[in-house]
């Protein structure tokens, strides 16, 4: 595997700040908006977004929750492993709110489809938007398009994009792994 750093810690912080300002542009003081990050890996990104937003808007009350989509996936019984779920923490009402879904990497779009289903169990939102840190824009299986993107990455399906976080991996960075035999 050949590893290439797509984003380092400094670039990531710039992107976080930019994305937060884009959110504020569209959601004002967040009184009518809620943020849901997707378990398990989208939560680290969501936590950073929520933290940065609270720093920029100390007065605003930002509703931030975590959504697990395991039970709504369309690949249950098509994998070798049964997926064990993560916790869902949604302590607010999403009925008639603007929901911002947050995940780290958007690839096939299937997780987002499951997330839309999972979210509807909590009510009918007025509008749903999608924010992703990395958009692997090729090989989408479903018509899913993000509204806010950290970085767009052109990659082939044999490659892997992995997001590492300071909280779990000791350092913030995003790496594109390419199998050696595919390298020209």
């Amino acid at each position: 595997m050949d590893a290439k750093i797509i984003l380092d810690s400094k670039e990531l912080n710039l992107i976080l700040t930019r994305l937060c300002h884009q959110l504020i542009e569209n959601h004002d003081d967040f009184s009518n908006s809620v943020i849901l990050s997707l378990q398990p890996r989208g939560v680290f990104f969501g936590n950073r977004i929520a933290k940065t937003l609270r720093e920029i808007l100390p007065e605003a009350k930002i509703n931030y929750g975590k959504l697990d989509v395991t039970f709504y996936r369309d690949d249950f019984r098509r994998r070798n492993e049964v997926l064990v779920p993560n916790s869902t923490e949604v302590d607010f009402i999403i009925e008639n709110k603007k929901v911002i879904l947050i995940d780290d990497v958007l690839y096939t779009g299937r997780t987002i489809r499951a997330a839309l289903d999972a979210m509807l169990a909590f009510g009918r939102p007025e509008k749903v938007e999608l924010m992703v840190l990395i958009d692997r824009r090729f090989y989408r299986h479903l018509p899913v398009k993000p509204d806010y993107v950290g970085r767009t990455v052109d990659s082939v399906s044999s490659e892997k994009v992995k997001v590492f976080w300071n909280e779990t991996d000791g350092k913030d960075r995003i790496i594109l792994f390419t199998p050696n035999d595919k390298k020209q």
């Binding site: 039970f71 019984r77 049964v82 064990v84 779920p85 916790s87 169990a121 909590f122 009510g123």
Partner: protein, 309 residues
């Protein structure tokens, strides 16, 4: 880590500690799901489950049916009364006919110990044991241990008393095995005639005095007398049993500590526990029922992942 070591749920005996932990972890999430405005998830939408009950049941059957429906499975129900069993059809023929209608999983209760294992060996389906005679009732034991874990934050080291008709109780057997696996201390209490022989070999304490047993425990699981399984008289009269082994408020309040009351149902009010004990603030009987749905959802979900599509 995320895979059960078994393909069927026949008894607690076959489960590893890791299996039980995976079931609990999954049940935590399903408990969250069943407390949402929309209590249904689509996980088992391509699975059909048959609930085959050769013995009477209220809670277990309803609980399984709700669990299946909340996972979006298709459900068919079968009870022996009113079926062709009375015309002399055998168990395997009955089940194979149901399976020929493309059923993926079977939940079965039967009065013969070993019926679930027999079915798992001789048919091509996933079997969940909902009680086989006086042998095992694994989902009840799992929901009891799950309720203890919820109340105390852990099962390890908790002192659990199981009192009543131990001899005829599949709940007692499965509970002993499950609680011992999870590191709880277990004591049994009941008339000596209703105590199985050599039960100490399972690593449990035996006490014949209910007051002493209650003084020892943190949780008391009060079992019903299974008159339907008693072919001879095991004690002189119900009245005498109540005086010796019935739990009432006076006895509970004379203890120098608070204990949690559990009961697997159905309750015979005024026999093993009085009415006010059943409704007492320390009783978690209805929490057990709620947790039963979450536990059964977890088991169905984890086993369905192994059904060939």
């Amino acid at each position: 880590m995320s895979r059960l070591s078994v393909n069927h749920l026949i008894g607690i005996k076959d489960l590893t500690i890791e299996d039980i932990q995976i079931i609990f972890q999954t049940a935590d999430n399903f408990k969250n799901v069943i407390n949402r405005p929309i209590k249904k998830v689509p996980s088992l939408r391509d699975i059909t489950v048959a609930n085959i009950f050769f013995e009477n049941s209220t809670r277990t059957r309803l609980s399984f049916e709700l669990a299946e429906k909340r996972l979006s499975a298709d459900v068919v129900n079968f009870s022996a009364s009113g079926s062709s069993v009375s015309k002399g059809e055998t168990l395997i023929d009955t089940v194979n006919n149901i399976l020929a209608m493309k059923v993926d999983m079977v939940v079965m209760r039967h009065s013969s110990p070993g019926a679930a294992l027999f079915l798992a060996k001789h048919t091509k389906t996933t079997v969940i044991n909902a009680g086989d005679g006086a042998h095992e009732h694994p989902t009840q034991a799992l929901l009891d241990a799950f309720s203890i874990r919820e109340k105390f934050g852990k099962v390890e080291g908790v002192k659990v008393l199981i009192a009543g008709d131990i001899l005829h109780s599949r709940v007692a057997m499965s509970n002993i095995l499950c609680l011992k696996k999870l590191g709880a201390e277990v004591m049994l209490c009941g008339p000596s005639t209703l105590m199985p022989r050599y039960v100490e070999h399972l690593g449990v304490k035996v006490e014949y005095n209910l007051r002493k047993a209650l003084e020892w425990c943190d949780v008391a699981n009060m079992l019903r007398i299974q008159l339907e399984r008693q072919d001879i008289k095991y004690f002189p009269s119900i009245r005498e049993y109540v005086m010796q082994y019935g739990l009432n408020t006076q006895l509970l309040e004379s203890l120098n500590k608070e204990i949690v009351i559990m009961h697997p149902g159905p309750i015979n009010r005024g026999v093993e526990i009085t009415s006010d004990i059943a409704d007492h603030k320390n009783s978690i009987i209805l929490d057990q029922v709620e947790n039963g749905v979450a536990i059964r959802m977890a088991i169905l979900y984890l086993l369905a992942g192994k059904v060939e599509g």
